[in-house]
């Protein structure tokens, strides 16, 4: 059974948070879906709250402190990302955006990503489509078709005939697992190990 690494980025601010709860359910569903495809999923959860100061410092100094670098390396090195944010003022939270601002620009290129969000009301669910999806398109990630939004009321309807949230979680996790299972694990080119030779920098030299 081959293994895929999943980085789970949760931008919830309270402890515990609805955002983390959604992130955990998406992670569990993805690991289940991968197992059905004979792939072992290994998830690493990043709570951005724990790194909020370092993220701001990175914006100001241009480098990640050691603890944050372990996190950015883990996300950049993962085979897939599950990214979950609370919706603040009709969009992702500032902390969520700041984290992706300090990631290397090409860290997520070609990487499968599942996007999800939480909010007090379902009226903001399209923030996933007009804010998160374009962000990850810019980062050249491959975003799965189903984005999962959980409003307060969704947490109470899990057992009903209308299993809205649970179904959406399962569908999104299945889509992510399909993308992941079809791919070979990520190997990133290291420009410090393997630099562009000078003759390619200055053709004719």
């Amino acid at each position: 059974m081959s293994t895929r690494r999943i980085a789970v980025v949760s931008a919830g601010l309270s402890v515990p948070s609805a955002t983390r709860l959604l992130a955990d359910r998406l992670t569990a569903a993805t690991v289940d879906a991968l197992r059905e495809r004979d792939v072992q999923g290994r998830a690493e959860v990043v709570e951005l709250r724990d790194h909020a100061h370092d993220i701001t410092n990175n914006l100001l100094t241009g480098f990640p402190a050691a603890a944050l670098r372990r996190v950015t390396d883990a996300v950049a090195g993962a085979d897939a990302v599950i990214a979950v944010t609370p919706i603040f003022s009709a969009s992702y939270s500032g902390l969520f955006k700041s984290f992706f601002d300090v990631l290397d620009q090409d860290a997520l290129t070609g990487r499968p990503v599942l996007i999800a969000a939480t909010g007090g009301t379902a009226r903001h669910s399209l923030a996933l489509e007009h804010a998160l999806r374009p962000l990850f398109a810019h980062l050249r990630a491959v975003v799965v078709p189903t984005a999962v939004y959980a409003a307060s009321e969704d947490w109470g309807t899990g057992g009903d005939a209308d299993r809205g949230l649970a179904d959406r979680i399962a569908r999104a996790a299945g889509e992510l697992a399909d993308l992941l299972a079809d791919r070979t694990p990520t190997v990133r080119k290291d420009p410090y190990e393997d630099p562009t030779p000078f003759k390619d920098l200055l053709p004719g030299a």
């Binding site: 701001t56 670098r69 630099p195």
Partner: protein
């Protein structure tokens, strides 16, 4: 090993007094600092080049020429010369001129500049930063080595039968360092030419620079200039010292907290842990600087940033006294004791001139031997 200082030339309000120096005051302060560097026994003064406020040094050779006239030993350098937005022809001429005036006490550090708007002000585009640095330097390298240059490239008007004037002093081009914070391409470029590589490590963690310097060393060897540990490496450093380390921390903290580059971000304690910044006693600075050698290998040039973030001139001069009297003499001794014999010093005009003379003598000797052998052969065949 060479020790010196480098300056950005920022005009910054002193956060403890609210006072901002004028441009004239800051420019004269930079000169005073350079003269002090020679007085306290340092080897190198390097000025930044900037074309946007709040920085004053837009015309490095004007400043360095003036300093050259008032010093005897100090090597005059840059940190950095903008190889992207300057015309390489003008760099070739300006610095050759400076070389003559300063009797060879000149080298340069190439850099790209990271301020987007500056590029279009000089007709360039920051997105072409690396290709500009590569092509412009290639032309500069030729202009100093070939008397007549025909050239055509992507970024500059072509040259037909062009001679850059004056020619480098004694036919020896100034030694060049390539400065970079993160670009593997620049480490590769420095290695290709066998030039020096200056890793301005002062704002970032060492792990990153270990990879960058290791890349340069490996490629230096690959291109046949010597073994990896003979590559010419320069490093930055940033220090503030008082006899009692607590006094240093107390005095420097407001400057740190409000500094343009990292102010209002990490704490002084976090930043000193993550970067080479050392705030404390002279002994702490000695210990920390000696650690650089353990992290990056034997290296040739150590430049300290001393005069930024609004520190008053008087304080900077006191810092230079401590650096010159208490820190650098110990570092010279300790580094020399640790350096293996096969690791070279940083090239200077004198050492490059001597090497050129030796190479010429070697060629002449070989030619003489070949002539002698040919004559012997002729004599033999005549018999």
């Amino acid at each position: 090993m060479q020790f010196g200082i480098f300056t950005v030339g920022d005009v910054t309000t002193d956060p403890t007094t609210g006072r901002t120096p004028g441009e004239a005051e800051r420019i004269k302060a930079m000169v005073t600092i350079a003269l002090k560097a020679e007085e306290v026994g340092l080897d190198v003064f390097a000025t930044g080049e900037h074309h946007n406020p709040p920085f004053v040094p837009s015309s490095p050779t004007t400043m360095l020429g003036y300093i050259a006239a008032r010093t005897e030993r100090l090597i005059l350098s840059t940190a950095t010369t903008l190889i992207t937005t300057n015309d390489p022809v003008k760099i070739a001429e300006d610095y050759a001129m400076l070389q003559h005036l300063a009797d060879g006490r000149v080298d340069l550090m190439m850099g790209r500049g990271n301020t987007g708007p500056v590029y279009p002000w000089f007709g360039q585009d920051i997105r072409q930063g690396i290709p500009l640095a590569i092509e412009n330097y290639h032309l500069l390298h030729r202009l100093w080595r070939e008397d007549v240059v025909d050239w055509e490239g992507r970024f500059r008007t072509p040259l037909q039968g062009f001679t850059s004037t004056p020619r480098p002093l004694d036919g020896i081009p100034p030694f060049v360092w390539h400065g970079s914070i993160r670009s593997p391409e620049i480490a590769e470029q420095a290695a290709y030419y066998g030039d020096g590589f200056f890793a301005n490590n002062i704002f970032w963690p060492k792990e990153h620079f270990q990879r960058l310097i290791d890349l340069y060393r490996r490629r230096y060897e690959h291109y046949g200039h010597g073994s990896a540990d003979q590559a010419i490496v320069g490093l930055g450093g940033q220090v503030f010292m008082r006899r009692n380390s607590q006094d240093a921390v107390k005095e420097f903290r407001p400057y740190f907290d409000n500094a343009p580059v990292y102010g209002h971000g990490p704490s002084l304690e976090e930043f000193t842990r993550e970067t080479p910044l050392t705030v404390g006693s002279p002994q702490q600075v000695i210990d920390r600087t000696l650690e650089f050698r353990e992290h990056f290998g034997d290296y040739q040039r150590q430049l300290f940033l001393m005069d930024h973030a609004g520190l008053p001139l008087k304080t900077v001069l006191e810092q230079l006294d401590i650096l010159g009297e208490e820190v650098v003499p110990v570092l010279r001794k300790e580094f020399a004791a640790r350096r293996p014999a096969h690791v070279p010093e940083a090239p200077t005009h004198a050492s490059l001139l001597a090497a050129a003379a030796k190479a010429e003598a070697g060629q002449a000797r070989q030619a003489g031997q070949a002539r002698g052998a040919a004559q012997a052969e002729d004599a033999g065949s005549a018999r």
